[in-house]
Point group: C2
Chain length 213, copies 2
Amino acid sequence: MITETKVSLSEQTRERLLAAARVVFSENGFQNATVREICRRAEVNIAAINYHFSSKEALFVATLNFEPLLALCEKTNQGSISAQERLLDFIHEFLRQLLDEKEFSVQCQFMARELAEPSPVLAKIVQEAIAPIHQFVANLVREIVGKKISEEELRRCVFSIFGQCVYYRHAQPVIQRLHPKLRYDQREIEAIAKHIGEFSLAGLKQITQNQCP
Amino acid sequence: MITETKVSLSEQTRERLLAAARVVFSENGFQNATVREICRRAEVNIAAINYHFSSKEALFVATLNFEPLLALCEKTNQGSISAQERLLDFIHEFLRQLLDEKEFSVQCQFMARELAEPSPVLAKIVQEAIAPIHQFVANLVREIVGKKISEEELRRCVFSIFGQCVYYRHAQPVIQRLHPKLRYDQREIEAIAKHIGEFSLAGLKQITQNQCP
DNA sequence: TTTATTTTCAAACAAACGTTTGATACAATC
DNA sequence: GATTGTATCAAACGTTTGTTTGAAAATAAA
């Protein structure tokens, strides 16, 4: 019988593997992360991954958790504030999940990596996480600009917003070399969110006016 | 004596290697590109890379050519049109180099890959190509917004512009799954350039006004 | 305690990678 | 034609990768 009050040793190694995998995957991406480094940081034997998860890919899938990201959409959707303010809130929270290193949501950083380097489970990630939040932002933008712009133009607006946000994570190796002193502390994240929010709202307004002169 | 009128066989394999390397590197990035595939597409022996270039990394360096990108900056700088129009021109040309598959400038696509996955020569790429065009756009933006915004805010404006552009290349694996029918033909590239240009000019205007109410 | 099951471990495995080797073919010079 | 330097080739090298193995240790069941 499995003891439920005390955590078994087997469960401990499972959890340690998951914790280490989250760190290593988010730091190096799926392909560059090695099972040896994950096991070393989890202080378990190399064979543990295949014993508990059957493969590196299955371990990767097990670390995926889109709940905080999807919860962010639902949370932002509630409340009776304007669509503009909801978009600003979303950008702020999205950037926090994407950039804050102390935050316990490394999931967003997975996504940013998977954008460029497609792993075997990219289809699952797109379907379960990226598509919903893209759709969510598309709905917000539609609410802001009205029905005057085409679907193609709407898509470009959504890309503009995500492009600005993701750049900070995605281009970090370059940004670090261009601006070595730049750190993503809470103050900086708020400043970035404020910038992207104002920048984008002005952009959306301009696009709306252009399409209907 | 080396024949200069006719291209020697040795030169032929060198050129074929370079051509194949450009394709394979831009499609797969430095790390994922294999010397075996490069040689297969160049129809040369596997040892040819190390014989003619001494290593895979040196071959990669040999394929780098930032001239079209830097020429773009100088070309855009000339002329007596306004800074706004010059920024629009730059965005359009940058996107053409970044997205047009028929274009002979795969260099920009290198850069987009290197942003996320740092290769051994990232420092060189940043120093010789990315830093100059970042500085170029920063100067343009400074010309547009005047001296009313801080250096930090200026940097964020530049990131917003590049972030929007690079997203189309960088997030392509995801975009392809989100919008399977989307193709980067000349019409689409022009539409994207028009969108990002108007979106960004409106954003810059808003940022300027906010900083000096 | 004895037996059965589960978990750990060092070692090895097969595959893929960039690179090197030594023989062979080619071209140029004498 | 003989000799020398260059270029090509199949094969193998040494690493690193994820994965598997079979015995040993630990835990649970009898």
